[in-house]
């Protein structure tokens, strides 16, 4: 009996290590495939190079890093205000019985496949941008609009959790001192839930940088330094998504190296978000 119990505990420990094992394997294989090319061409030339012409052996991903940055920034500038507004709406402005009905809608927003968003962006947003603002329509602006919408569930669900986790006397105290409901929300509740809200924004940022298929459909995929929000662009993820199907040799390694750069960015953001939300609970 005791031996069996000990055995089960050992097995469960091994099982529990599976997620770490997967993370380790991902790191190992992405870097093993990508690093040789970075050593061959030099980290500086790879990250700061402005030319990406695989047929001529030039692999510079600087335009893609910049594009990823601008698309993400654009997505956040739509996603943060909209996300926070929805958070406050759900947790403070409507009765909790109505919020219970609306919350599943937020879950649904997260469950709609990203290709559906990409498709809708392609048939609705892209023509709108082309007709009213000019340019090809397939652009950083169109991508940012769709992506801003796609990161809403992440921002809303995590920041709402942190607002609802606040002790009730914060709100009661502020109202008792004569603050209006809005002053209570803006000056007391949001600052108190700050680290959770920031964590939600960082996770949303991670989602935005990582999104691939929807962005392939909307961004237009031209490899060039982005100069305007109406330019078409290619991000780190879409570079991998588009070319992986036919790449081989150095070219394929360069795509894995692109993945490695993306992976490092994401891990830094993840660690930051985890640190912030630990501090909240700790």
């Amino acid at each position: 009996m005791v031996i069996k119990e000990k055995g089960i505990e050992k097995i469960l420990l091994l099982v529990a290590l599976s997620s770490i094992a997967v993370l380790g394997l991902i790191t190992l294989f992405i870097f093993e495939e990508g690093l040789p090319l970075i050593w061959k061409f030099g980290l500086r030339a790879f990250i700061l190079g402005e030319r990406w012409v695989p047929s001529q052996g030039s692999f510079g991903i600087f335009p893609m890093i910049l594009s990823s940055f601008w698309v993400t920034l654009g997505a956040l500038s739509f996603g943060i205000p909209l996300g926070l507004a929805c958070t406050v709406f759900l947790s403070e402005l409507i009765p909790s019985s109505a919020a219970v009905l609306l919350r599943p809608a937020i879950h649904l927003l997260a469950a709609i496949p990203s290709v559906i968003y990409g498709f809708w962006g392609l048939v609705v947003i892209v023509p709108l941008v082309r007709n009213y603002l000019g340019g090809p329509g397939l652009s950083i602006l169109s991508g940012s609009l769709i992506l801003g919408f796609m990161i809403l569930p992440t921002i809303i669900s995590i920041s709402e959790d942190s607002l609802r986790a606040l002790p009730p006397y914060y709100k009661q105290g502020a109202l008792a001192l004569g603050a209006t409901h809005w002053q209570t929300i803006w000056r007391v509740l949001i600052p108190a839930a700050r680290s959770g809200i920031v964590a939600s924004i960082i996770l949303g940022m991670g989602r935005a940088i990582g999104e691939t298929m929807a962005m392939i459909m909307i961004l237009g995929n031209a490899v060039k330094m982005p100069t305007s929000f109406l330019d078409s662009a290619r991000t780190l993820t879409t570079n991998i998504g588009i070319e992986m199907a036919y790449a081989s040799g150095d070219h394929r390694q360069a795509l894995f190296a692109t993945g490695a750069v993306l992976f490092v960015i994401i891990m830094i953001l993840n660690s930051l978000a985890i640190f912030l939300s630990r501090r909240r609970t700790g």
């Binding site: 099982v15 709406f89 879950h107 496949p113």
Partner: protein, 280 residues
């Protein structure tokens, strides 16, 4: 008086803005769903669901994609569910907060933030090439399993956490061992919560494209074994739309996808609600 008036004005403006933002968010979501369904529902018929695609997907149906989607999802759940539930049991019942549990939680949190294209790259070199499984249901399913593992772990952990301590005390006082307590007292009560997490993961697997296209391929053929390449519904939708093969068929496939996801989410939602009521 003036200052008093202005702060109520600020409040009114802020609240109006928030109402506008929230309602337009809901509005956009409804418009997206409505538009795809309006164009796509007329395409749906029993031929569409039961025929194979013809002419690269310009005509015919989506049967191989439906089968491919379910096969891939089944493989993913089959691998991820035992690992995820086992991890949750270990974290909740077999270890106190310690260095090892912190490490496992950190690993899980990190894994949940890894973008799907990275999972795709990993699945491609590891399952497709290194383990020589080729573009197949198995490669795609295993890649998806790695992707949904964090969701299953965290929902199972929440479910186990919410079981009252008294359940354990009763089991131990009756002479139950730890494993008996877990399997006879804790898991049966935590099952609905665990099941909800699994259903949410099914939804995520069905909607995934980037990781699947790199590991399961994009053939139009009917799969015959676990080692056959497949094209899932999401991948089919993506290829039809992006390569402009057929907008009509793309809308039809999109509508089928949305209906599937709506259906799965409704089940999950009903389960969550029943579960919460049951607990309280």
């Amino acid at each position: 008086m003036r200052a008093r008036g202005s702060r109520y004005l600020t409040q009114a403006i802020a609240k109006v803005l928030i109402w506008i933002a929230a309602l337009s968010t809901i509005g956009v979501m409804v418009i997206i769903l409505f538009q795809v369904l309006r164009e796509g529902l007329p395409v749906l018929s029993h031929h569409f669901f039961l025929d194979s695609p013809k002419d690269m997907g310009r005509a015919g149906g989506i049967l191989p994609m439906i089968i491919g989607t379910f096969a891939l999802t089944a493989v993913a759940i089959l691998f991820a569910a035992p690992l995820g539930i086992g991890t949750a049991i270990f974290l909740r019942e077999y270890t106190a907060e310690s260095r090892i549990s912190h490490m496992i939680r950190f690993g899980t949190d990190c894994l949940s933030g890894v973008p799907s294209i990275i999972f795709g790259l990993f699945g491609f070199v590891f399952f497709v090439i290194y383990l020589n499984l080729g573009w197949s249901i198995l490669s795609g399913g295993l890649t998806l399993a790695a992707m949904i593992l964090p969701t299953i772990i965290s929902t199972a952990e929440e479910a186990i956490k919410s079981i009252p301590k008294s359940y354990r005390e009763v089991s131990y006082s009756l002479g139950g061992t730890k494993w008996q307590t877990v399997t006879r007292a804790i898991l049966p009560s935590a099952l609905p919560g665990i099941f909800t997490g699994i259903i949410l993961s099914v939804g995520r697997s069905i909607g995934e494209t980037a990781a699947v296209i790199l590991t399961a391929g994009s053939t139009l053929l009917m799969p015959t074994s676990l080692f056959s390449p497949v094209r899932t519904l999401s991948v089919h939708f993506y290829i039809l739309a992006r390569e402009g093969i057929s907008m009509e068929m793309a809308y039809g496939t999109g509508a089928a996808l949305i209906l599937l996801v709506l259906f799965i989410n409704t089940i999950a939602h009903v389960l969550i609600n029943r579960y919460i009521r049951h607990r309280v």
